[in-house]
Point group: C2
Chain length 288, copies 2
Amino acid sequence: MAAAHAGQTTQATIGDSEFDRDTAVTPREPGVYEAELSGGWTIAGAVNGGYLLALLGRALADTLPHADPFTISAHYLTASRPGPALIRTETVRTGRTLSTGQASLLQYDDEGNEVERIRVLASYGDLDGLPDDVRTAAEPPRMPPVEQCFGADDAPKGASPMGGFPIADRLMVKLDPSTLGWALGQPSGKGEMRAWFGLADGRDADPFSLLLAVDALPPTAFDLGIKGWVPTVELTVHVRCRPAPGPLRVAISTRNLAGGFLEEDAEVWDSADRLVAQSRQLARARLG
Amino acid sequence: MAAAHAGQTTQATIGDSEFDRDTAVTPREPGVYEAELSGGWTIAGAVNGGYLLALLGRALADTLPHADPFTISAHYLTASRPGPALIRTETVRTGRTLSTGQASLLQYDDEGNEVERIRVLASYGDLDGLPDDVRTAAEPPRMPPVEQCFGADDAPKGASPMGGFPIADRLMVKLDPSTLGWALGQPSGKGEMRAWFGLADGRDADPFSLLLAVDALPPTAFDLGIKGWVPTVELTVHVRCRPAPGPLRVAISTRNLAGGFLEEDAEVWDSADRLVAQSRQLARARLG
């Protein structure tokens, strides 16, 4: 991969990487976990919603008898801040092939009161136990090779809306030039964004980093000519397959911007051309 | 509309229809509601998941300060049965424009123990308070007029997989013939289903009946050549606009059937050509 942490010489691995350390949760009592929201995954001061979902996803993997998120739905309540957090989980149902759990991410206000940031419902299973049958009509997005795509560090200094924020140093996001017109003041109006995606330290993807991948590209709203923040109301991710090693391709699209809200759909493809995750979020847009 | 209840002479209205009576919830104490799951919305003995979601949606509308579901995510835990049920709701957060709540649908086993059927997270708002701006790339599905589409009562007796079940009497579902090949043993393999949709008694659509509409067509799995039951694991619905009076068009599609699971996406269009709801569910499929 093109981007790597300055000075880093060996590729990070699943379980031993910055992403793993920053999404770690520490059991305090059964079902309750302490976490530290890292400032490294912020953009314009906001902690990335996909990073937070990965953190909640790991807490649920510890609580539930199944390890892999199959479908996880998050409702975002208040803006998270870097710093300490508490995750309370509940086992809703355990079954042979699927288990369902709930989790809340909490932080504290200045008076020390708990404030809920995100609430999640999720059903977990065992990805490795699924049959290999694939009957899909979906095809990977057509996009140029990564060498012909553009990342935050390819833009003139200060010119990239992704550059300069901590999260940009931790991600390898290389945008398909045909979805990059907005960065030059010429949004296509199609509501599409496509990119090669990975973690900058070379750690391969796993189901938890897929939860990050679906929410890590510039918003489709930029391609629709909207420049402001597009906060997520709700995000649901389906993890469909354990990703193969190597970079991912992420395609996001919006069909319907109306009444100040828009949906954003993501598809994530791995290096073996498998559709490994699908997501949809409802977000607010401020129409200019 | 073509189909009407036998002997019915006046069109049912929102608030005064079988759907309204069968989704009514009765407050028992603050946030707790009693309900009766009607046997009228079953297919092959299973209570329809969209009907159940509408019932939960109405309980949350009573609990929360906002009346309209904007995004509602349901995880289906165990199979519901016609009969008495209890709905426990929780207000998670109230805001100026959006409120978030949680709800559980419970029934009782033979020993009288509570068994949870469905758990829901939802964010509610005020559809009528949204601005009129629409910048959508989405177009209504192309399909023939309703007179050229086919419903359960158009099939030879006993030949329709939808016919003969109680829910078929309560719905007006007229399938686009180009998505009907599976009924003649010739599934297209595309994973698509399109239909005109309404309530058989002529009641117009509202946000709650949209929750039913997204889960009321034959499953796309039929069009993929799968004949068995396709139980929903999780269903998330975004209601984007209050529907105009008149019949709806519903288009559902599956891109990825893999590992024994498939996603099913629905779009619902109203008579004014507005995209009024979008949904996605993850369901299990038994590959034959």
